[in-house]
Symmetry: C3
Subunit: 251 residues, 3 copies
């Protein structure tokens, strides 16, 4: 994967591991970036030099635009479709299984799979530019793979509201009130200051206690190893519909 197609990189500084992903199209997530992201999370999970993880994306505009529309359009059968959506499933399962606390740095808008990433971290620190949208239904599919983690984070009701109203942005304030964001700041500077404060404390906290905490935060999700592939199969099938073909070509 060349830099022009996006990248994932990890930096370690005083026991804080920061994973950054980038893609030139609004930080959207093609299969290659998803594979590298899952790998980076698994590596950070086992790196003894890392006590706490920060997940961020590049730039100052969109945090993550979700699935790559170019790749969605290239899918020609259900097996390929499932495989594409498994990219998201693998990232979410990697974050869920990771025994270290993951802080999300959400500097801007989140769409679809990007909302899934924000929901899969343990503590999101965002700016007020971080509006969110689950736009899947607008292109004839649905937020099936990210559904379990978004629903767990914001509740059944807020999740269904987001999924049904696929064309409206919800504000960062809404996302905070529903529990997706733990904190919402007026500027990127304020957000970064708060992240520094919290990661400093956590990097000096008892790793054994944080590992036990992580287990109880995600208790009851063990079946996601099977559930998320089932969900990927639903999306992988729907993406082939005439409806989706037309919708994606219009965008």
């Amino acid at each position: 994967m060349g830099v022009s197609d996006g990248y994932v990189k990890t930096e370690i500084h005083q026991k804080v591991g920061t994973i950054e992903f980038h893609h030139p199209q609004s930080n959207s997530l093609p299969a290659a970036v998803l594979v590298d992201l899952a790998k980076a999370i698994n590596q950070a999970a086992h790196d003894p030099e890392i006590n706490v993880i920060v997940l961020r994306s590049s730039g100052e505009k969109v945090f993550c635009a979700g699935a790559s529309f170019d790749e969605l359009l290239a899918i020609t059968d259900a097996e390929q479709g499932k495989k594409f959506f498994m990219g998201f499933a693998n990232v979410i399962n990697a974050m869920r299984r990771c025994h270290k606390i993951i802080i999300g740095r959400i500097h801007g808008k989140c769409v679809g799979g990007g909302v899934g990433l924000a929901a899969a971290v343990d503590y999101c620190i965002a700016t007020e530019m971080a509006e969110i949208k689950l736009s899947e239904l607008a292109v004839g599919i649905g937020p099936f793979v990210v559904g379990p983690v978004v629903e767990r984070r914001i509740g059944t009701s807020a999740f269904s509201h987001l999924a049904i109203d696929a064309t409206s942005w919800r504000s960062a304030d809404w996302a905070k009130r529903k529990g997706l964001f733990a904190e919402k700041h007026a500027s990127i500077e304020d957000m970064d200051e708060s992240i520094s404060r919290l990661t400093f404390i956590l990097s000096h906290s008892n790793p054994e206690a944080m590992e036990e905490l992580k287990k109880i935060f995600w208790a009851g999700t063990e079946h996601w190893d099977e559930l998320l592939p089932q969900r990927a199969a639903i999306s992988g099938r729907l993406v082939l519909s005439e409806f989706t073909r037309k919708a994606l070509k219009k965008v």
Copy 2:
């Protein structure tokens, strides 16, 4: 059932099926209206001319006053009691099993079973007049049949607060913050404009995707076919208590 005793009617317009119920006593729900409501939902669920359903009630005052007190007073044994409350169970189960998205149009106050209806739709659009109350305990019973759907929608905590404080109204704003309402508008006109916008989009959305969405919204509620009848039996027994007889006669 004559018009003077209430009615349920369905209108279809450009793939949107609107089900309206009416009862002269503040849109309360006698057994006959509940039977017709469950039927109308089941018919709309299977009507190929309908892509999305709107549930509304008549008039501009109370959205739904809940159970009919006249009928509650007429109950003389536990079997009759259970049968009456099964009317609500059947409506909730019909909405839950329906594979189409149901939009609630909540123009005014909701009491008891009326809160249950609002909780059983998938997306509620309300006005700020739509205050809510679970008044059951005030008449010696409890929100047992509507409990599962209200708790699923607003969470265990907000549900127990509503059920315990049975004499206070909670504002439409409270209901929105807790997730019962997806939107709250300043006027009936604004509410209807938003309903038009959303139903237009959904009536043109991928029906297969909406059917899969509906399944995941209600995943884990399959046991309600047995649970709600058990709950109806509890209410049916409590309604015979001396306490309830006295309370209902006072109202």
Copy 3:
């Protein structure tokens, strides 16, 4: 246990049983107070003179500072550690099993186990001084015993935010928005007036209906009889860590 070490007392007035606990160190909870608190709840649960229970603490400052740091420091092995934390487990299980509605009177700050008490009542009426904090991670442990009841009350997301950010206070307004508090009042007088109103109504409500309500509020928590002891064992083990020894001595 002498008065100087804290006390638990129950007063009954017109079918309302008020349980008050006190400890000179900010109403913290040593083992002896926890034992007496569980006993008082069990007695009130079975007292025919009591229809509704109020849980409060003494004074006008801190509602409850959580575990007694003096006793935590005195723990020398995992068995002792588990036994100490079982004190909290027994109080929470007593409240959960009690078939009467319990109103919490939260006049001030809640820390750690104190947040657990507030979460284990059925309806919290608080003042705006009632800020909350789960400080466990700051002393190298975690909110493992109170976790299930706090998570049930405020959701997975808000619980994990509280547990991770162990050094920041969350406001009473935050606690109300997340569902921990049902009401938040500007003064102790206003809080007490609201408690009087609600307890008067509940003391005159149908006890059978309230018993059935209590059952549905806590449905699905039957396994806590085994879960909370498992959680007590985790805390009991972590409290022996070098990390915790150092942190507690610094306080």
